[in-house]
């Protein structure tokens, strides 16, 4: 089963909407409660003061995601560097997908973006697993300058989903700024699924695509991580890594 990492700035009151909880219900979820500290503050000092409060909140969240059935756990990290923590936890838990929690009601339709150099097959297979036999519709979306090739890609991608009995639609945006088109398309959907792209100069300036989509569309965004990162085996003792995951 695919594991989904849900990073939450718990001490800043970040939480998950009921819609996202329901959407992720069949998956294995690791809630990553994190707190970013200014360099003046040793992480240990913050843990002394806030550790208990954060743990309480995380236990509740993990329960909502199904901790009692063993399909959810949580990690709590105090850090100076958010990205470093995300990458480490994602690698350690082998999470193939991470979620940017947004605000949404019940999720009826997903927008799945296949634009650019992303692992289309992995994204599609994840969506199939996520939707399962639930009444959730899927729109495959692609922004491209090459319309015929794009249409072919969308149709090929739709086949395995349709075969599972999922209501699949396609949407092609030609000759438009991909991100803008995606955000426009997201209006009629409750959540977005997209692939992670290698960081470029643009992402350094404007932030990651997924975060921009999340900010503009308000709803949750699920990001399928780059596969080579997931396969990377952190050279650590597995006992150290999982010290916290068996709780709750």
């Amino acid at each position: 089963m695919t594991r989904i990492l849900v990073p939450l700035a718990v001490l800043e009151g970040e939480s998950v909407s009921a819609g996202l909880t329901a959407l992720l219900e069949p998956m294995y979820v690791t809630v990553l409660g994190y707190h970013v500290l200014p360099e003046q503050t040793p992480p240990d000092q913050a843990r002394d003061q806030y550790g208990e409060r954060a743990t309480d909140a995380l236990e509740d969240l993990a329960t909502e995601f199904g901790a009692a059935e063993g399909t959810a756990d949580y990690r709590l990290v105090f850090t100076h560097d958010r990205e470093q923590t995300f990458d480490r936890i994602a690698a350690e838990t082998r999470s193939e997908v991470y979620a940017i929690p947004g605000a949404t009601g019940p999720i009826d339709r997903l927008l799945v973006a296949l634009t650019g150099d992303v692992a289309v097959e992995r994204i599609v297979s994840f969506v199939g697993e996520l939707v399962g036999d639930r009444e959730i519709g899927v729109t495959l979306f692609l922004a491209t300058d090459d319309e015929p090739a794009g249409r072919e890609l969308l149709e090929t991608a739709a086949v395995p989903l349709a075969a599972r009995g999922i209501d699949v639609g396609t949407e092609l945006a030609a000759d438009r700024p991909p991100l803008e088109a995606l955000v426009d398309a997201a209006v009629d959907h409750d959540a977005v699924v997209m692939g992670e792209r290698a960081p470029s100069l643009l992402t350094l300036v404007f932030g990651e695509d997924a975060e921009r989509v999340a900010a503009e569309s308000v709803g949750p965004v699920l990001v399928v991580r780059n596969v080579d990162e997931v396969d990377e085996d952190p050279d650590q003792d597995p006992d150290d890594r999982t010290a916290n995951t068996e709780e709750s």
């Binding site: 200014p38 360099e39 240990d44 000092q45 913050a46 550790g51 990290v77 100076h80």
Partner: protein, 471 residues
């Protein structure tokens, strides 16, 4: 693994908060959370070098040359050797106990609560004295900067400017949430480039000028004793490596990076200091240098590179003293946290405020005394007391290492072991304590007074707290 045992409570009924942790290269795992290690080798070096360089290069050359002549270079070399002799044992202890608090932590675990309390609280004051010293140095550079820009304000403004910026640093550290660590790395890189260009050029020039007008000066015109007293004075230029240990808990791959950052920063600044004195005393006679005072290096810069050189040094001095002051404000607050966590100070001292997530109480306990001391404006006294209190800690770090090694507890498992044990730590301890003997009597009195006061506090407040590891 058996962590040291801890029990007992202070006068308010608080006991040390110590729990089992698992340390990996990237993270410290406690029973309920993970603490990310985010500081790399360059970050560690930047803390060490950034703290040290301001004093040794930009404030001391004039003062030191006045006291010891060209042999001031030897004084700096002696300081480097002593610092190195302590940095090696400190590295071993830091890799065995990569925790916030640095020297205090090693000594309280290795030698017990009384020694720990004296060192921990003295370290707080030592850092306060050091920061005040950096701030006064900064004040001189600020006035010189204004002078270079054509605004002659006179030395009367040195202290007010130092106070203003001291207060500003404290406030910024309480309210600032953006990451200044990257900035610090950049500043240190910039400073090193300025210095390498300047020292390279000055060194070539000085070598080419052999036999030129500057009357060939005797190497140690005042004899050997001033070389030693000067070494004691300028030792403040080597305090930064122990600051690296105060952030040991946040260092990535501590087994590798801590020794490299501590030993590396001492070696780098040691070489720079000796080269600086050589270049400075080649440009001017030592008496003339002494006459230029705290900002003598500006005149040296002017001598070699004209107005550009003077400006580069003024600008560098401003940055360097600022980064020294800022880095030690941060270390002070971590030192206070370490003792308060162990119930040697009221727990309230380590409170974090909700609004900014910063330890405002500890920062205030650093900033307040710093301003009072800055107001005295006594550069040499501030520097020597800072060195005194640090040297006590350094000596005891070596003693703690020997005590731990003689009967290694089960939990003692350092990644780095000091070469030449037991000679190196033994000489390190003797040398640290000996250097104190060469300080001015006033500094020694103030230092001893502070230590007696901290011991008194221990007996009043935390007599029952037991921190000693299972030896």
């Amino acid at each position: 693994m058996d962590e040291p045992s801890h029990e007992g409570t202070n006068i308010e009924g608080e006991s040390p908060r110590v729990e089992q942790t698992v340390e990996t290269e990237e993270v410290t795992i406690t029973d309920d959370a993970e603490l990310e290690r985010t500081l790399g080798l360059s970050g560690g070096l930047a803390i060490g070098i950034g703290t040290m360089i301001g004093a040794g290069i930009f404030v001391f050359p004039g003062l030191a040359a006045g006291q010891a002549g060209p042999a001031a270079a030897a004084s700096f070399a002696i300081g480097a050797v002593v610092a190195l002799l302590v940095a090696l044992p400190a590295s071993e202890l830091a890799t065995a106990m990569p925790k916030s608090g640095g020297g205090y932590y090693f000594i309280s675990r290795g030698l017990g609560t009384l020694a720990g309390a004296v060192v921990g609280l003295s370290l707080w004051f030592g850092l306060v004295f050091a920061t005040a010293f950096y701030l006064v140095g900064f004040g001189y550079y600020a006035v010189d900067t204004l002078a270079e820009l054509g605004v002659a304000v006179g030395e009367g403004l040195v202290i007010p400017l130092a106070l203003l910026f001291g207060a500003a640093f404290t406030v910024l550290n309480v309210t600032g949430t953006e990451n200044a660590a990257k900035l610090q790395n950049g500043i240190v890189a910039l400073l090193l480039s300025i210095l390498v260009v300047f020292l390279g050029y000055g060194g070539l020039d000085a070598a080419g000028l052999v036999g030129e007008p500057t009357a060939p000066e005797q190497f140690a015109p005042f004899g050997a004793v001033p070389v030693m007293t000067t070494a004691a004075l300028v030792f403040t230029s080597y305090l930064g490596f122990a600051q690296v240990a105060t952030v040991a808990g946040e260092m990535k791959d501590p087994g590798r990076n801590l020794p490299l950052a501590m030993v590396g920063s001492v070696l780098i600044v040691g070489v720079l200091y000796v080269a600086t004195i050589f270049v400075a005393t080649s440009a001017f006679g030592s008496e003339q240098l002494a006459g230029f005072g705290e900002t003598a290096m500006v005149e040296v810069g002017r001598h070699y590179l004209g107005a550009v050189g003077a400006f580069a040094i003024v600008f560098g001095g401003l940055l360097a003293t600022m980064s020294s002051a800022n880095a030690s404000v941060l270390s002070t607050s971590r030192a206070i946290y370490a003792v308060s966590k162990d119930a040697l100070l009221p727990r309230g001292a380590s409170r974090i405020n909700l609004r900014y997530g910063t330890p405002h109480v500890a920062l205030g306990m650093a900033g307040g005394p710093i301003l009072v001391l800055t107001a005295t404006g006594r550069v040499e006294l501030l520097a020597e007391v800072a060195s005194f209190l640090h040297l006590i800690m350094y000596g005891l770090i070596c003693v703690a290492l020997i005590a731990l090694r003689r009967d290694e507890p089960e939990w003692y498992d350092p990644d780095f072991r000091v070469p030449g044990y037991p000679i190196v730590p033994a000489i390190g301890a003797v040398a640290s304590f000996a250097l104190i003997g060469f300080m001015q009597p006033t500094s020694q009195l103030v230092g001893v007074g502070i230590m007696i006061a901290t011991a008194g506090w221990y007996f009043y407040y935390a007599r029952d707290v037991d921190l000693k590891g299972a030896l």
